[in-house]
């Protein structure tokens, strides 16, 4: 017994000490391999079945769409389609496809493959519709038919003119998957992805890593990196520690608290980029104090948004002026954010004849794009109380929060936090501010805002295919909504990332996608 016990202790002690004595080349990422610290494991690597930016960061490196966002912008440029034509009535889009492109599994990319991709998402009778569900397929609900004209020409007929169609094609839901791989793997395709992109899939270890390697035959030039490893690290503190320990080359979504530390350290570089994101509070325009436009404006004057983005979000966002985020720089709007003016807020409240309006404010504990919702909620509450509002906060976990808010605020609350990430200036106002988008109609207009003029402009902006005309219309949208103030406009988030100094060519895109084709180290 004694000897046994002693040897057990000795073995245990050895096991503890051995690796410490021999610290192998730890905390060194291998050359030519980029290790990316992600916030979570992807749900699937089938681009049509996922909704999270976190998943899109991997997918845009494995797949291509017919079109893609021009680097540094939210404008589209050719990708798998070399060129396209839009009929004058805006109903027919004809794409000329790139020839000689192959999927990673060796099968050909052609017009049949394009048809397969969209019909799989949209046609309930398609043999592979059951490989879904396809939560964002409504991005393409305007499509009536997809026709193969010849192997390299494909024609989309729309049910009605829909100008955001091209930018929806550039969104990850429009990435093209290999029909042969879908046929082979069926429901498991999301674990055996095959696209045409600059990197091809190697392995996915549950909750540990997704590895992709260089596609030497990439049509747009092979990438410089040999491989990329995407690691999910859900705990933000651990992610930061792993970056500092040297186990990561790139880390996305750096907590604001840690940004300054990385900025002051020469071995790291910080990248920031404003994106098509809006953080706002929906106001209930149907009943209660916010039915009066002056009270809604008063709330917008009362909240010190500059202080929110500087202090709560620590400079990781800018102040928002309306529903069109500035990342859509082709929309030139002159509307400036509401200034912080408590005096103005008080006089508007007096004018509206409401002394101390009582409000119920829905706050969430956290969720996609919500930044720091509890602290933000408390700061907004304090600012509103300072001008005379009486604000009662109700906090809900994200899932319960969404089911409450999306059903409409009537009879429950006067305001609710919300955040959206979009890819076209049409999406957010069309889905959340139109008369036809009330919760009862299946839309997201949970605050019941209605303005016939806005409805008309939004419809017109969808019909016109002329980009400059669209730009002017969305500028008008921004102006009208800003003035009517159906929301408390708060912030536009800047995405951030930290890279090790030896990583070259890394940049963040306004689309929030992560294009690693030009990166080397």
């Amino acid at each position: 017994m004694k000897r046994l016990f002693r040897s057990i202790v000795a073995v245990a002690a050895l096991a503890l000490v051995a690796p410490v004595v021999a610290p192998a080349a730890l905390a060194q990422t291998p050359p030519g391999v980029l290790i990316v610290g992600q916030i979570a494991e992807p749900q699937s690597l089938d681009p049509h079945t996922v909704t999270a930016t976190n998943d899109f960061r991997i997918l845009v490196n494995v797949y291509d769409g017919l079109v893609r966002y021009r680097p540094g912008t939210l404008e589209v440029e050719p990708a798998l389609a070399e060129s396209w034509e839009v009929s004058p009535d805006g109903l027919t889009y004809t794409f000329k496809l790139r020839s000689g492109v192959k999927f990673h599994d060796g099968s050909d990319f052609d017009a049949e493959a394009v048809k397969f991709n969209f019909e799989r998402m949209l046609d309930e009778n398609h043999p592979f519709y059951d490989t879904g569900p396809f939560p964002l397929s409504f991005n393409f609900s305007a499509i009536d038919t997809v026709t193969v004209k010849d192997p390299l020409t494909v024609e989309f007929r729309l049910k009605e003119p829909f100008a955001p169609f091209l930018s929806n094609l550039a969104y990850p839901t429009g990435l093209i998957v290999s029909p042969a791989a879908v046929r082979q793997y069926g429901k498991d395709f999301g674990r055996h992805p095959s696209g045409t992109g600059p990197f091809r899939f190697v392995e996915w270890q549950s909750n540990q890593r997704v590895v992709v390697e260089r596609n030497p035959d990439y049509w747009d030039g092979a990438p410089a990196l040999d491989a990329v490893v995407f690691r999910p690290i859900t705990d933000a503190n651990t992610r930061v520690a792993e970056m500092m320990a040297g186990g990561l080359d790139v880390m996305v979504e750096v907590p604001p608290d840690n940004l300054a530390g990385f900025r002051n350290d020469a071995s790291f570089r910080v990248a920031e980029q404003a994106g098509p994101h809006v953080w706002f509070a929906i106001l209930n325009t149907k009943e209660g104090p916010f039915a009066d436009k002056r009270v809604r404006q008063a709330a917008n004057y009362a909240v010190n948004k500059q202080s929110l983005v500087d202090n709560v979000l620590q400079g990781t966002a800018t102040v928002s002026a309306g529903p069109v985020p500035p990342a859509f720089n082709w929309v030139t709007s002159k509307v400036a954010p509401y200034p912080h003016d408590p005096e103005r807020a008080r006089s508007l409240l007096a004018e509206a004849g409401v002394g101390n309006p009582e409000l119920t404010f829905y706050v969430t504990e956290g969720g996609s794009g919500m930044l720091d919702p509890i602290t933000m909620g408390a700061a907004i509450q304090a600012d509103l109380q300072a001008v005379g509002f009486k604000v009662k906060i109700e906090t809900y976990e994200w899932n319960s929060f969404l089911s409450r808010v999306n059903a409409g605020l009537e009879g429950k609350a006067d305001m609710a936090e919300m955040a959206w990430m979009t890819n076209d200036p049409d999406t957010l106002p069309y889905l959340t501010l139109r008369s036809g988008a009330l919760p009862s109609e299946g839309g997201f207009n949970s605050g019941y805002y209605q303005n016939p003029e806005l409805d008309r402009i939004l419809d017109e902006a969808r019909r016109t295919t002329d980009q400059s005309q669209r730009a002017a219309l969305y500028a008008k949208v921004q102006e009208i909504v800003h003035d009517d103030a159906p929301w408390l406009f708060v912030a536009n988030w800047k995405q951030n990332a930290v890279t090790r100094a030896q990583v070259e060519g890394f940049r963040l895109e306004p689309s929030f996608l992560l294009n690693l084709r030009g990166v080397s180290k």
Binding site: P19, N237, N399
Partner: protein, 315 residues
């Protein structure tokens, strides 16, 4: 003995069956649903209905449960909707990782706990006892996620001796030595609380035994002090420590939830957290069943070991 084990194993069946009903009900009662979790901000009633229909979640609850239990009896645990893969594959992948972590932590906790308990019992109220008691109380009281972060900061960030997170090196790793290196920090963190509890209990068990007559007899016979303590006293004391280790096994499994998140260990605890927050009911079911079954098994093993060690219990 065999009959006893068989009886205990048989008793597991109704426990697991009842548990699966409770989990199903609880998951159905908490607000929010899978479709909303998948759709996020896009969760309109219309989209939710479409996704629910595609996933078969629009059927009545009882029917869903019956379909599930019918499939389980045929060995099919269903598909995780948030991970797009069979539940069984995910659960086995993940539970293996948890067993490595929790198993190492438990062995570590037992060794450290027993040793500390013996030393402080033998040197009762001496310096060694005071120092050990202090460390043990600190270990029990410290939140393990905080301790974990502290260890990461020291060993991975400051001294760069050990990896900060994960189970294997992300590129070209994977051997037993690699896993062992990644295991040290999380296993040490996870073992802290259990080691403390085991130390406290083995201290009092040892103290009690050391006062008994047979120890005095052994000393009177002129046996060396070591022989008295490790050969006689420990052997008697360990019988009352074993069931505590069995119970600690359950706590270690539970504690793994935090530790796995802090160290990004790809275990079942981290999986359950995500599965619950995304309302992935089949994945939750699979995970709960495996964890519950292993908890029952651990306790069974502890009871059996105790019986083998203590002739008085054997009938």
């Amino acid at each position: 003995m065999t009959a006893y084990i068989a009886k205990r194993l048989l008793a597991m069946v109704p426990v697991l069956f009842g548990l699966s009903i409770i989990v199903f009900l609880v998951m159905a009662l908490i607000p929010g649903d899978t479709a909303t979790a998948i759709l996020g901000a896009y969760a309109t009633p219309e989209n939710v209905a479409r996704i629910n229909r595609d996933l078969g979640l629009d059927k009545p609850l009882v029917q869903q449960y019956l379909i599930w239990i019918g499939n389980v009896l045929q060995g099919d645990f269903g598909r995780s909707v948030t991970l797009n893969r069979p539940v069984l594959a995910e659960v086995t992948d993940r539970f293996g990782a948890t067993l490595i972590l929790a198993g190492t932590a438990l062995v570590l906790a037992s060794l450290i706990g027993l040793l500390a308990g013996i030393v402080s019992a033998v040197r009762q109220f001496g310096w060694a006892d005071r120092i050990i008691t202090f460390i043990v109380l600190a270990g029990i009281s410290m939140p393990s996620f905080w301790l974990g972060l502290l260890l990461i900061l020291l060993f991975a960030v400051e001294w760069r001796l050990l990896p900060a997170s994960g189970m294997t090196a992300v590129y070209g790793g994977g051997g037993p030595a690699d896993v062992a290196r990644h295991l040290i920090l999380p296993a040490a963190t996870l073992s802290m609380v259990a080691a403390g509890v085991i130390a406290r209990l083995s201290r009092s068990a040892m103290l009690e035994v050391l006062r008994q007559d047979f120890i005095r007899t052994a000393r009177a016979k002129g046996l060396s002090e070591r022989r008295v303590i490790y050969g006689h006293a420990l052997r008697a004391a360990i019988v009352s420590v074993i069931p505590v280790i069995g119970i600690q096994a359950g706590f270690v499994l539970g504690g793994a939830v935090y530790i796995e998140t802090v160290f990004q260990w790809p275990g079942i605890g981290a999986m359950m957290v995500k599965a619950i927050s995304t309302r992935d009911i089949l994945l939750v079911q699979g995970g709960v069943l495996v964890v519950a079954a292993s908890y029952v098994l651990f306790n069974l093993v502890a009871d059996v070991v105790q019986t083998l060690l203590d002739p008085r219990i054997r009938t």
